[in-house]
């Protein structure tokens, strides 16, 4: 897999969630992603960026346009230095929430993308990497 271009977007305040969505939309358009896939990706970005801000206490979104043979995709990593997720299995259950939401953020985001990787430990922050291919 080769990286065509990459960059970073800070997620510190609520307005940054909107900016993260807009950045993802622009990049997905650059990749030539079709509208339905683009909408799914941007929605997943919104869920994950909100998690980074609300539960992680802020962090960053790293982006990369990647190539794998003939495929082009957008890979995004959401990382924070927050408290981490103590019970991953529980967090990946539909409808479970620790913060008064609907509990669809993580599980929903996973369903909306092609690749989903979650790396977390109590006290060690959280890192979620997603990829959507065109």
């Amino acid at each position: 897999m080769t990286v065509r271009s990459s960059g970073n977007q800070p997620i510190r305040v609520e307005q940054d969630v909107v900016l993260a969505r807009q950045t993802a939309r622009k990049l997905a358009q650059e990749c030539g992603m079709r509208l339905i896939d683009l909408t799914k990706l941007v929605t997943a970005v919104s869920e994950l960026a909100r998690n980074t801000m609300v539960y992680g206490g802020g962090g960053d979104m790293d982006w990369a346009i990647v190539e794998d043979g003939l495929r082009v995709g957008l890979r995004l990593t959401f990382r924070d230095e927050g408290p981490g997720i103590p019970d991953l299995k529980l967090a990946m259950t539909d409808g479970w929430t620790s913060g008064g939401g609907l509990g669809l953020g993580l599980t929903g985001a996973k369903r909306l993308v092609d690749d989903f990787e979650l790396d977390t430990a109590p006290g060690a922050g959280t890192r979620v990497t997603i990829c959507k291919w065109t």
Binding site: T39, L104, R111
Partner: protein, 120 residues
């Protein structure tokens, strides 16, 4: 403070969301709407989301809350204009908006509101 305008048309309130909302803006709309329903004794609320190119779980929850709170304030809510890609994404996200009435466009939404509000 940034706000989404709420228009009054007879017995109904009309909201057209045309900006990419951050969470606080969505919460403000919820508060503003409940206050306006109470002040104007509105019988119905029409929310047009045809300009929204994304609805995530937060906005979906806000729509559900508005629908629920207007119902207990004796007003109906109809959500109109959802783009097909948004609908597909919402269902895949696991959000089917139970209890929220929908119509394809503003015209059908208004018709539905009139039927509901005046049939009782």
């Amino acid at each position: 403070m940034e706000r989404i305008p709420i228009l009054q048309m007879g017995d109904f309130l009309l909201v057209t969301i045309q900006v990419d909302m951050h969470d606080q803006l969505a919460l403000t709309l919820q508060d503003d709407l409940s206050e306006r329903i109470s002040r104007t004794s509105a019988r119905g609320v029409l929310i047009d989301i045809s300009a929204l190119d994304m609805v995530d779980s937060f906005i979906g929850r806000m729509i559900g809350m508005i629908s629920g709170l207007s119902r207990i304030m004796d007003a109906e809510t109809v959500l109109v204009g959802m783009q097909p890609a948004v609908a597909i994404t919402l269902v895949e996200l696991g959000m089917t908006l139970p209890g929220v009435s929908t119509a394809l466009n503003v015209e059908r939404g208004m018709k539905l509101l009139r039927e509901r509000a005046y049939s009782q």
